[in-house]
Symmetry: C2
Subunit: 437 residues, 2 copies
Amino acid sequence: MDSLKVGICGLGTVASGVINVLNRNQFEISARAGCKIEVVQVASRRMRDNCDMTGISFTTDLNELVNNPDIDVVAELIGGHTLAKDLVERALKNGKHVVTANKALIAEHGNDLFSLAAENGVSLAYEAGVAGGIPIIKALREGLAANKISALAGIINGTGNFILTEMKDKARDFDDVLKEAQALGYAEADPTFDVEGIDAAHKLAILSSVAFGAPLQFSKTFTEGISNVAPEDIRNAEDLGYRIKHLGITKRQSNGIELRVHPTLIPESQLIAKVDGVMNAVLIESDAVGQTMYYGPGAGSEATASAVIADIVDIARALKAGVAPSVPPLGFSMDKMKEIPVLDIKECVSAFYLRISAEDHPGVLAEVSSIMSRHCINIESVLQKESARIGELIPLVMLTHEVQEAKIDEALKEIEMLESVSGSVKKIRVAQFAQAK
Amino acid sequence: MDSLKVGICGLGTVASGVINVLNRNQFEISARAGCKIEVVQVASRRMRDNCDMTGISFTTDLNELVNNPDIDVVAELIGGHTLAKDLVERALKNGKHVVTANKALIAEHGNDLFSLAAENGVSLAYEAGVAGGIPIIKALREGLAANKISALAGIINGTGNFILTEMKDKARDFDDVLKEAQALGYAEADPTFDVEGIDAAHKLAILSSVAFGAPLQFSKTFTEGISNVAPEDIRNAEDLGYRIKHLGITKRQSNGIELRVHPTLIPESQLIAKVDGVMNAVLIESDAVGQTMYYGPGAGSEATASAVIADIVDIARALKAGVAPSVPPLGFSMDKMKEIPVLDIKECVSAFYLRISAEDHPGVLAEVSSIMSRHCINIESVLQKESARIGELIPLVMLTHEVQEAKIDEALKEIEMLESVSGSVKKIRVAQFAQAK
């Protein structure tokens, strides 16, 4: 095999990145892959001038591409659901290896698509779908193959991390920074996917599955966005020695796995607390190696292209050796995957940050503490600010020890009924990671 | 293939870690590898009781193991040179795949050993040799396969990083912390390998080769240890917004590659500046993905075992598919590797931290600045402390812009001859990384 022939569906940011990088780095890439990697055809709604199309045939007909007998690998870079799914299915059925950057597709339809790939003796690779240019799927699936993974936490949405970083560094509020992120092109006109955690949940569902060897369970992921994080919560967290990040967390418990995306306080001594701006990072806790972390850009044309091409190189190396890639799509052999129940958020265990709006009189802390104590919730620290004027409500801020979420919710219901407490209590989860030695 | 049969040479910390992890995580490992991984024989000078040897045959004869026809993979975990080299050669010639944690062996004899492996159609894997449990070789060789790598910098010796972290956090001096590190078992009785940078140079030579596709050039690595880092340099660096780390740096320049291990000032805003204690981290700058970083424990029984087993799983997956592993040992196909000259340290370009002992009178700064200016060296910032007593020497601390080391040395020669300057100037290199977006 002198050259591996690739067809690309889509001609947007990532597709042009793939074509540009393949052109620019063709010596390095072919020296590593053991053969030339050649884009022979692109299918897209319209031609664009974001890359050099010399020698590449162009079509507006996706069918033509997936049926092209010259093509070994189809790169699905159109995104979305319906069309992409249909396209990937047809490519796999035609015996083509498929590489995609489409996390929604994998998270929501991966179980079926991986089976289909296996039936057709081809591979479906998706490194680019999670944390952009960071080779995190490879790390989990191969690099950490010896480990029982106990927990994984990731900053896996750059837009959300940019917003929280700006809010902290410049004491700005959410809406204000979101507008800037949209102006900079980091956030979409409809930012829901990013700021409400749906994008992160897609990626987390994939990471969890690879970590624990269970089928994908995106629909069971708990998500809470960052739009309710107030500047004062960020300041309080700092005063307590913490940072607030939008984390995707998946953890193994004896009765199932936790699978949740939400704003999270992290001790500032943890390296992941220092990952700022649009950068992504994934921290993994596992029994043999301990704590490892992977950091890099989670989006961008060439960063994502880097991961797409890495998957293509894996395929080239295997085909060159005469076989299909031999790493199972989700790390575990498909016949060894096991269903593991996803725990309801009420069953998840976490420490909590609580901000209570209370009257400024000495009895309040005692009342609140006594409710906590009755529910067997230990308080780690308390931050009480003085009121500026008589009669003003003050924030009473607390960090608890780890406790099941259902218990906290029961206690909060009682606290919210206290006469000296106003409105609802702000609750943000706190992540505790083993301190790296 | 129902099971891959492994023979282990050595029964020290790493070997027992491999046996323990293979036992404990046999479900996960075989589910990922697609077959059982079975240690059938251990060869070591003496039996030890650091792991469960049930079902494993024991011999004191290394020959017996490398000639054992039942064994598919030999794990060389005895360390050192002579014996290990001989052993690995014989195993490869016998058609066995070899996995090693021996960085000295790979850095100093890898070129020959990889050729020998290729001649015999087997693989020689060494993930465990660099940065312990961090899958950094896999990241470079596969995950970043699309990239032209421009620079790589690593904290790749845990002992050295522990010492520098303690010196900074507790304002202790080098000798004092070294004694503690020895008592804790982090540093050897003869600490030269760690603190003088030889261990780091072994790892750096390997990383450089994989990054740039050049044969291994360990003997050309420039090394400078950390024993001359004074507590006041660490404090001055902090005052300037920097941390001092013992970095291995390799960079591509137009006329060759830089390959150097030395104490280095890093801006504290860089994530790698915050990697403390015995932890390792490798930062990579490359054209497509940009900046990525990989963090984790660089040593320890099971952390290293994790990498050894990951290599074995790679072999198992390939053999199960019916081929030998298809990733070239140094990332590039061997016929595509190119010699790249290593630049002399004098030719390397870097910014510099300078500490000059000078008399406390207003003319000194002018004299020093005028010498710098004559050599076209730009000064970035100056830190001048007041003297406590008349006639006392004061430290004049400077950060320069980037300049070739030869130029700095010429200027320093003149500065050291000034009447108002005493003794030699302390010079520490400064690393500038592209700021992550």
